[in-house]
Symmetry: C2
Subunit: 364 residues, 2 copies
C-alpha cells in the first residue's frame, strides 16, 4: 500500500524540495530531474511507502552518489552504474531488495533513490539517513545510532564494482572517498542495508513527503510572487514542526571554491542591498555555517540553503556565482540529527568549526 | 611432490635473492625475513613446487603488498591482514586455494608469498608475475598476456576488506593504489587467481629457484671476499641464461626521494672513486634507468640493483643514503617480460622515459 505515488506531475515539487534540503550540496538536481522524468514516462509512476509498510524483516538499502557536487554536473548519469551496484548488493546479501532509500534526501542524491527505484521496479521509503545532505557517508542517522555501513557497494563510470567491508563506518567513508577521487570525483554507492525494524528505529522519517511539500510551497510562492517563508512554515508544521527562518536577502559578492580530497570546499560572501550587511557562508560540499557581520546565525546540522530571489530555485555550493540575487533560508534539523550523539558527528565541531550548535529556533 | 623445501637454512639465501630481484623495490626484506623465520620455526618448512606439479584446474593466487616501499618499513607485519584476505578470496571464488605465488618476486613482496603459504599450510609455486618487482600491480606477465586481475581482495591494517572488480587491470591498479594511500600507503592484496594451466601459460617460471641461487651466489662471494659477478653469472646460466653485468662501483653522493600518489619517486646519484664518473639512477619504487655520464646503460625491464660493496646486501630505493659504498648490478629481464607487448607495459616509455629498451646483453 503506497502512501502516495510519484507521477510525472510531482517530480518538479520533489526536485525543488530536495534542492532546499540539500543545504547547498547533494548535487545539482537539473540533470537528475530530466532522467527521473524520462524514467517515469517510460516505466510509470513510483510508489512511496510509509516506514510502517515495511515488514519487520524487509530489506531496504540506501543509495546515492559520493563525490564533489561539481563533478556531478560534469558527468552524465549512467543507468548501468546504478543497476550493477544494486545487483551486486543483492548478490552479496543473498536476499531480494524490497525498497530503496536516499542515503541523503538532499540535492540530486534525493532523486537518485527514485531513479534506482524506477530501474528496479520497487518502492522508495518515505525516510532517509540525514533529513538533508551532509558531506560524509557516515554522517547518517544509521551510523550515529549504531548501524554498519558495510557492505558498501561502489560502482564507477569505468565499469568498476567494488565491495567495501570497513573496519568502521568512518573507514568505509575514507575508502569510498578515495575510490571516488580515483574515479573522477564521482561514484555511486549502495550502503546501509537495513531491515524494516531498523529503518523505523533509526531513519529520519517522512522526509520524502516533507521534500514534496517544500517543493509545493516554493512553487506556490513563485507563482504568486509572495514571500515563501509562511508557506514553508506551513509545509513544515504539517509534517513535524521544524522551525524555518529567512536569514538574509542580498547578492553574492564573492565566492571561493576548491575541489580537494574528494570534496568541494569554500566560502560565499553575500551583501544586503540596504543597509549594507555582510553574510559569509562556509561549505564542505554543504553550507555548514552562516555568519552575519561575523556572528554565527545558523550552523550545521540545521539546513542552510541559498535560493535565487526570483525563481526560488536552490543554488548549490557548486553553482553559486558572483552577482546572483539570493535569499538564504535555514531549516532546523530534525531531533534525531541534533541529539548529543548526533552533534558529535554532524555538529559544527565535527567539521572543524570552533562553535557550539544552537538550533535556529533558540536564536533570537 | 615439492621441487624443494624452504627450511630455515635457506631463508637467508631466498631473502638476498629476492632483494637483488627487487630492482630497488618490493619493500625492505629485513622485517619480513624475521617473520618468515619465526613462522618456519613454528610451523615447519614450506614446499616449493614446480609449475608442472599444479593440476590443470588447481587454483593458485598471487599475493603481495601494494604501496610505497618506505611505508613497508614503518608499518609492522600483520598476520591477520594476510589470512583475512586469503579467506575472502577463497569465499569469493568458492574454491579452495591450492598454492600461492608472489605477484612480484622482488624485495619483501617475494617473501610475502612464503608468509602466506606458511599461514595457510599450502605450497609456493616456483614462478611469479614479474621475475622482479615493478611499481604497478598490472605490470605482471598475467596482465600482459591477457589474464584478469579481478577479483582483487585488499585488506588493510584498519580491518578493512575490499573486493575490487575493475573495468580493466589498470583500473584495478588505480583503485587499489587509492585504497593503499587511504590506508597509510600500504595494503595487502590477493589477485590474479589462475588455474594450473594459466600459470604454465603466462607466469615467469622458475624465479623462486633463481632467487635462491642468486642469494647463494652472494653468500659465497661475501664469505670469500670475491667479486660476485662470476658467481651470479653461473647461478643465472644454470637457470635460464640471463645476462648479468656490473654497471658501476662507487659511492652515493646524492639522493632525492618523494612519496607521492602512492609511490616513492626519486633519483640517486653515484660517483666512482677514480676516475671520477657519475651514474644517475631514477626510480618509481623500483630503479628504472641507469645512466653513466648521462648515457643510458640499463633500463627497465632489466633489473637494476644497488648492493652494499662490503656486505653485498641489497639497498632499496627507500634505504639508499648519502655516503654508502655500492656496486650496481644489472640482470637482463626474462624473454616474457621484454616481448613487444611487455615493453608497452614495463618498458622505459611506460614510465615516461623518452628511451627505447635495449637489453644489457646487446649493449657494449
Amino acid at each position: 500500500v503506497p502512501s502516495w505515488i510519484l507521477d510525472r506531475d510531482k517530480i518538479a515539487d520533489l526536485t525543488n524540495g530536495c534542492g532546499l534540503l540539500g543545504s547547498g550540496g547533494g548535487g545539482d538536481t537539473y540533470g537528475f530531474r530530466l532522467v527521473l522524468e524520462s524514467l517515469v514516462a517510460e516505466r510509470g509512476p513510483i510508489s512511496v511507502i510509509d516506514v510502517g509498510e515495511l515488514a519487520p524483516d524487509a530489506l531496504a538499502v540506501n543509495v546515492g552518489f559520493v563525490g564533489a557536487p561539481i563533478a556531478m554536473i560534469e558527468k552524465l548519469f549512467c543507468e548501468h552504474q546504478v543497476v550493477t551496484a544494486l545487483k551486486a548488493m543483492r548478490r552479496r546479501l543473498g536476499q531480494p531488495i524490497d525498497a530503496v532509500m536516499a542515503a541523503e534526501l538532499g540535492g540530486a542524491n534525493g532523486l537518485s533513490a527514485f531513479i534506482a527505484a524506477a530501474l528496479l521496479g520497487i518502492p522508495v521509503v518515505d525516510a532517509d539517513g540525514m533529513g538533508r545532505a551532509f558531506p560524509l557517508s557516515d554522517q547518517t542517522s544509521y551510523s550515529i545510532y549504531g548501524r554498519s555501513a558495510s557492505p558498501t557497494i561502489v560502482t564507477t563510470e569505468y565499469g568498476d564494482i567494488v565491495c567495501v567491508d570497513g573496519g568502521s563506518n568512518r573507514r568505509v567513508e575514507h575508502l569510498v572517498r578515495a575510490l571516488s577521487v580515483a574515479s573522477g570525483h564521482k561514484c555511486f554507492t549502495v550502503d546501509y542495508a537495513l531491515s524494516g525494524d531498523e529503518v523505523r528505529a533509526c531513519a529520519v522519517i517522512g522526509t520524502v513527503s516533507i521534500a514534496r511539500r517544500i517543493g509545493a510551497a516554493l512553487r506556490v510562492a513563485r507563482a504568486e510572487h509572495t514571500d515563501p517563508l509562511p508557506l514553508l512554515a506551513a509545509a513544515l508544521t504539517n509534517t513535524g514542526g521544524l522551525a524555518v527562518r529567512t536569514l538574509f536577502n542580498g547578492k553574492v559578492v564573492a565566492c571561493e571554491h576548491e575541489t580537494r580530497a574528494g570534496f568541494g570546499f569554500g566560502r560565499v560572501t553575500l551583501e544586503s542591498i540596504l543597509p549594507s550587511v555582510e553574510m559569509t557562508i562556509e561549505f564542505q560540499n554543504e553550507f555548514l555555517t552562516a555568519r552575519l557581520g561575523g556572528v554565527p546565525v545558523a550552523t550545521t546540522p540545521d539546513i542552510i540553503s541559498i535560493l535565487d530571489s526570483d525563481t526560488l530555485r536552490t543554488i548549490g555550493s557548486d553553482t553559486v556565482r558572483y552577482g546572483q540575487r539570493v535569499k538564504v533560508i535555514a531549516i532546523e534539523a530534525p531531533p534525531l540529527m541534533r541529539s548529543p550523539e548526533a552533534l558529535l558527528i554532524v555538529g559544527p565541531r565535527a567539521f572543524g568549526f570552533n562553535l557550539d550548535y544552537q538550533p535556529i529556533s533558540a536564536r533570537t
